[in-house]
């Protein structure tokens, strides 16, 4: 991909710039679409219609209109806030989300950087997200923001443990941290004759690993039933209480980018990434991007679906679930998968 761009653009720097903007474009278009989809899905699940007017067909331009509105809004910084950190926090949050896309193979021809520590890098850089959340909460100089930020940070840090443990169980099977190699290992439809060679079909323990990963992923992305940081029906807005206008919008964008990121990681680790489910049929770089994004969007949709199905957990239940159930289970599962690998 990069080589191809270098032939189009006059200079290498421009090519790299364009190359790095591809995921950003995808994220932005996806965010516009996902926010609209979220509203439509929630509306139809509740017997409503959702946005219907802007743009003509089923209100497709509603998010664009909202975005334009947010850009025009006043950028309010509280008088006693730490101005610099307050203003920086949303951008650092988004940068953390966006930075992680470097290691995601969007297609067989597109990987931001071919480094060997791919998934480890993703785990590391998404941790900056909790840092930026604390930054936002603390710099707001508002006790509720700070409490919300603390809760968010506690949640994110706690749920990182089962996420890492389940990722580790995949890594024990693949033996590589590079997500491109992980995906390539899942090519082909040899399994049971017709099933694709995806990790999820590797062993029954892998299914458990995926379920654990998905639950922890919901908490990482602050989605229902783990959306305590925002819990828009109860709190003012947690760490983003003092944010308004486009800065708040960037937090929103980060949330959706995070959803997509974790969905893509789940798709790569368990569902064959850019591999077609039909073997060599509909396979190739462009189809690869299609399958990858489709798989990601299915997970995003399931997250939305869950949002209107499940009630929110209490903060103590949240911690109980993580430390008493998810972490022990994920470690036991890791050991079982390791044993399975040794035996078969």
């Amino acid at each position: 991909m990069l080589e191809y761009l270098e032939t189009i653009f006059p200079s290498e720097a421009l090519a790299i710039l364009a190359f790095s903007f591809i995921p950003l474009t995808i994220i932005l278009i996806y965010a516009l679409f996902a926010i609209w989809l979220e509203r439509k899905v929630s509306a139809h699940m509740q017997g409503r219609l959702g946005p219907m007017r802007v743009g003509g067909w089923h209100g497709w331009a509603q998010t664009i209109a909202d975005l334009l509105k947010m850009i025009q809004k006043e950028d309010i910084v509280p008088a006693n806030a730490d101005r610099f950190l307050f203003k920086m926090a949303p951008f650092i949050a988004f940068a953390a989300s966006y930075g992680a896309f470097v290691a995601i193979p969007l297609s067989s021809e597109f990987l931001g950087s071919h480094f060997d520590v791919g998934i480890f890098y993703i785990i590391a850089i998404t941790s900056i997200l909790s840092l930026s959340i604390i930054m936002a909460g603390w710099a707001s100089n508002n006790k509720w923001s700070l409490l919300g930020a603390m809760r968010t940070a506690a949640q994110t840090v706690s749920y990182e443990v089962p996420v890492i443990a389940t990722i580790l169980s995949v890594i024990t099977v693949t033996g590589t941290l590079n997500l491109m190699e992980v995906t390539e290992l899942q090519s082909g439809n040899a399994f049971l004759g017709f099933l694709p060679n995806w990790m999820i079909f590797h062993s029954p323990f892998m299914v458990i690993a995926f379920v654990l990963f998905f639950i922890a992923m919901l908490a990482e992305a602050h989605r229902v039933p783990f959306d305590l940081p925002e819990s828009e029906s109860e709190l003012v807005g947690g760490y983003q209480t003092e944010y308004s206008g486009m800065r708040w919008g960037i937090f929103m964008l980060t949330e959706y980018a995070d959803m997509l990121l974790l969905s893509l990681v789940a798709a790569t680790l368990f569902f064959g990434g850019w591999n077609s489910p039909f073997g060599s049929f509909m396979d190739g770089p462009v189809w690869g991007a299609f399958w990858m994004l489709l798989k990601g969007m299915i997970f995003v949709f399931i997250m939305m679906w869950l949002r209107w199905t499940l009630p929110r957990l209490r903060v103590d239940q949240l911690m109980n679930l993580c430390w008493k159930y998810l972490i022990p289970l994920s470690f036991v599962n890791l050991v079982l998968i390791a044993l399975w690998e040794m035996i078969f």
Partner: protein, 223 residues
């Protein structure tokens, strides 16, 4: 999740209001309307209204005017110069609709009449112009004057006849009263009432004086 999944494909209950509307029930009560051509000015609706939101003004029609009949066959005898319904007060009870003998006041299924000022909810249904009202009023007054004059003349003629018979029996008080034009009330009964009043006043005065004397006497005896 199954429930939410099923609901995802269930048709939405939303009605996209200005474009589509719900079908209204047959007997909706949304706005009062009046067919003023059929109104006979009987004021039954005004009386039935529990919140007094209907105000009707009528002028008697003169004998030479024929207001015609309503579509239900009632003879119209009154000009309806005012028929105001204050829908801001109206409680949509429909109690005014049923008493109407000519079915000229009724509910219509129109619910889009919001206004920016409460005063604009005062709906006037009378189709008479101020000039017409004035004309009807003047005509009526003229006719009443005419009638009164005729009646007076008749009475005077009668009295004269009686006087001629009695040959100057009682004092002539009624004539002056009649010339002052004290309405339709009979002058002679008026005089009688005055006399009775006078008598009562005298009685009261006497009683008061008697009480005063009594008190004074008591005071004296006390001291």
């Amino acid at each position: 999740m199954g429930v939410t999944w099923r609901h995802l494909f269930r048709p939405a209950v939303t009605v996209q209001y200005p474009e589509e509307r719900d079908v209204l029930p047959e007997r909706v009560r949304m706005k009062l309307d009046v067919n003023i051509d059929d109104c006979i000015g009987c004021r039954l609706c005004e009386r039935a209204c529990p919140v007094d939101c209907i105000e009707i003004g009528t002028i008697k029609s003169t004998d030479d005017d024929d207001l015609g009949e309503t579509s239900t066959g009632h003879k119209k005898k009154l000009w309806v110069n005012q028929f105001d319904i204050d829908l801001a007060k109206c409680c949509y009870c429909e109690l005014c609709v049923h008493p109407c003998p000519t079915d000229c006041i009724f509910m219509v299924p129109d619910y889009e009449y919001s206004v920016y000022d409460r005063d604009n909810l005062l709906f006037s249904f009378s189709d008479m112009t101020p000039e017409q009202i004035e004309e009807a009023q003047a005509k009526l007054e003229k006719e009443e004057e005419e009638k009164r004059r005729k009646k007076e003349e008749a009475r005077l003629a009668k009295k004269k006849k009686a006087e001629e018979k009695k040959e100057g029996g009682s004092e002539d008080d009624g004539g002056s009263k009649a010339s002052a034009g004290a309405g339709k009330s009979d002058a002679s009964t008026n005089a009688d009432a005055d006399a009775a009043k006078e008598a009562r006043r005298a009685e009261r005065e006497a009683r008061r004086a008697a009480r005063k004397a009594e008190r004074e006497a008591k005071k004296k005896s006390d001291s």
